[in-house]
């Protein structure tokens, strides 16, 4: 075990190196750039034997990864915000041709106005592209999840691309101790990708060419079935990872002190850490509150949410972005999951941490109190209740 003090971005880079990725293609964008810069260092120093393809845009970066993945290579890229939006067309291509790419995404607000702070609008607006989506809470979770993501992506039952996201600055530029597992250990967990090339040099093959209404739907259904198989497989992969490293991140919806809770918040990414602290503090003061972390957003963990609903009095979903004309995107999903479940506790959508706002213990406490007092607003913009001073 080697502990290193690493940023979330470097956790992505080390994970890509440990995964022995063979082709990387990326385009720089704040706050992602240091991920691919570090990988470029690994390639330059010989610590990673890979082809690093420089391109003129994120759109091309993802195309390179799709082609390389179709040739059978293990591929990685990273991006953020506007860069992810520019990739939109090719996100569909990647999942459609079943390219097992792993991509690090630093969650950043989308323009306008220009803003580089943490916000989930970038990946939320790509939730329907057929990618598996993980939201990480710590740099350790970033590194471990990237390694698990390769196993998931390349599994013959799945063959889908995966995004492993981390909040801008709260993880991307935050350094904290991370256990970087030994390469030999990772090699046992993640052997080289099984040769599975769709494209073979010298053999004329079509990839994703015209398919009429007679068969198009069959390919869509194959993709739909594949993503449904993720939760079960994730459990097995995490179990294997735990056996080797002693760590597990608790599957799709890890919960904290939810037993008999009157109020539970569902959080994503770094808001979870702060909220966990508040739960301990409020529990100590006699309030029955708990927490659930939405770690896997696509596919959405319906079963876990329904199980949670049977144990708790009220649910608040904390979203770091807003679906215009609706509510928080995670809140929408949670409420959809509950509609066909047995228990339907009152549900609120809290919007907090938009555009790099801090989600403070004070705010989290207020959200719990709102729920405990029996007020369950449909949608509430928590940020607007707070005075902020921005330095610098």
């Amino acid at each position: 075990m080697t502990m290193k003090v690493l940023s979330g971005n470097y956790a992505q880079s080390y994970a890509a190196q440990l995964a022995r990725v063979q082709v990387i293609s990326a385009y720089p964008i704040t706050p992602q750039t240091s991920i691919v810069e570090k990988i470029a260092d690994f390639v330059a120093s010989g610590d990673l034997n890979a082809q690093y393809v420089k391109v003129e845009s994120e759109h091309s970066a993802l195309q390179v990864c799709i082609s390389a993945a179709a040739l059978g290579a293990r591929t990685y890229t990273a991006t953020s915000s506007q860069g992810l939006l520019l990739m939109h067309e090719l996100l569909h291509w990647a999942s459609g041709v079943r390219a097992p790419i792993v991509m690090g995404v630093v969650n950043r607000a989308v323009a306008p106005p220009w803003n580089i702070g943490a916000d989930h609008a970038d990946t939320m607006s790509q939730r329907d592209t057929g990618w598996i989506q993980f939201y990480a809470e710590s740099n350790q979770e970033v590194l471990d999840t990237v390694l698990e993501a390769f196993r998931l992506a390349e599994h013959p039952d799945i063959r889908l691309p995966v995004m492993v996201t981390e909040d801008a600055f709260y993880l991307s530029h935050t350094v904290e101790p991370v256990d970087v597992p030994e390469a030999t250990l990772v090699d046992r967990f993640l052997p080289p990708r099984e040769p599975h090339a769709i494209l073979v040099p010298g053999e004329a093959t079509r990839l994703g060419s015209f398919t009429g209404p007679d068969h198009y739907v069959d390919f869509r259904k194959q993709l739909a079935d594949a993503i449904e198989r993720v939760p079960k497989l994730l459990g097995k992969i995490e179990e294997e990872y735990r056996a080797l490293t002693g760590r597990s991140h608790g599957g799709a919806l890890p919960t904290y002190r939810v037993d008999g809770a009157d109020a539970v918040l569902v959080t994503m990414g770094t808001a979870t850490t702060t909220a966990r602290g508040v739960v301990d503090e409020m529990r100590a003061a006699g309030h029955k509150v708990g927490l659930a972390k939405l770690r896997l957003f696509r596919p959405f963990p319906d079963d876990e949410i329904r199980r949670l609903a049977t144990q708790v009095g009220r649910i608040g979903v904390v979203d770091r972005s807003y679906t215009f004309g609706r509510m928080g995107p995670a809140a929408t999903e949670v409420s959809a999951a509950l509609y066909s479940g047995g228990a339907r506790p009152p549900l609120s959508s809290f919007l907090a941490g938009i555009g790099g706002r801090d989600i403070t213990p004070h705010e989290v406490r207020r959200m719990y109190e709102t729920l405990l007092e029996g007020r369950t607003p449909t949608t509430h913009w928590e940020d607007l209740e707070e005075e902020v001073t921005v330095h610098g």
Partner: protein, 285 residues
């Protein structure tokens, strides 16, 4: 409600025919609905278009799988496309062909009609020998064989909506009307009613997309004209090879162009681009 399905090739005017029919039916006081279905959007590729005509608003937005009438603008499609799929007993198969209607194979009970629309179109200078625009002549034939529209409404629709050569097109419609020959369902060879079995999902490649090479798709089935290269005047400039959209030209050992006929769709682009004009497009019989 009458449902009509048109089978043509990209560039032949089948889609325009279905739209013109809609305009004509509207002038007759009917309520029409016409729309195309495109597969691969390439010149020469099979194209389907649909028309519905009724006295009331049409409460249906689907393709037509059980038509009363099937119109085939290119006789070559009879061999490659399942044009009579779903054709209703008592319905009509109308084909642009030089052959007699008695020779047309159709499911039992289906009336057959034949019109030499290519000849009519060329007589009125519509299109070229390689790509005659047969749609107005075929519509004239359809008006006579089915009475879904009057020749008068069709002529007015042509005058109002055909952008080029309206007068020639009107005359072509008239000649199609006069020239069509119809026989009843007992005449001619009978073929069983075809069905359209849908290939279910599991037979598709699992996981990744179709991995079928386009090399295995022989676009030659679309061809009605064949390029013939007269090598005596060929300068080996490679233009034909560069411009061929289907990669149907390769070179022999001494650098002369050579056709890969199984891929040549007969589009004539090579002939048009050849600087010394040494490629001739010859009609297939």
């Amino acid at each position: 409600m009458i449902e009509i399905r048109f089978h043509g090739r990209g560039g032949q005017g089948g889609v325009v025919a279905s739209e013109l029919l809609a305009q004509a039916a509207f002038l007759d006081g009917k309520i029409p609905q016409s729309f195309p279905f495109f597969g691969v959007e390439r010149r020469g590729a099979p194209v389907t278009a649909y028309s519905r005509i009724d006295d009331r608003p049409i409460a249906l937005r689907t393709s037509i799988t059980a038509p009363h009438v099937v119109v085939v603008l290119d006789p070559g499609l009879l061999a490659t496309e399942r044009v009579t799929d779903g054709l209703k007993p008592g319905g009509l198969l109308l084909v642009n062909t030089t052959h007699a209607p008695e020779t047309l194979a159709a499911p039992g009970g289906v009336r057959r009609a034949a019109v030499d629309a290519t000849h009519i179109a060329l007589a009125h200078g519509l299109g070229t020998a390689m790509l005659p625009i047969v749609n107005t002549a075929v519509l004239g034939a359809l008006a006579r064989a089915t009475e879904v529209v009057s020749l008068e409404a069709l002529s007015r629709a042509v005058e109002q909506f055909v952008p080029a050569r309206p007068e020639e097109n009107r005359l072509a419609a008239r000649d199609g009307y006069l020239g069509v020959r119809t026989v009843d369902g007992t005449a001619g060879p009978s073929v069983p009613l075809p069905t359209s079995p849908r290939v279910a999902g599991p037979s598709l490649p699992e996981g990744p997309m179709a991995s079928l090479s386009s090399e295995r798709i022989h676009t030659a089935a679309w061809r009605t004209f064949t390029p013939v290269i007269h090598l005596d005047r060929c300068t080996k400039c490679n233009f034909c090879w560069k411009f061929c959209p289907d990669d149907a030209i390769e070179f022999d050992a001494v650098g002369f162009p050579k056709l890969r006929l199984e891929y040549c769709k007969g589009c004539g682009i090579c002939a048009a681009e050849c600087p010394p004009k040494t490629i001739e497009m010859v009609a297939e019989v």
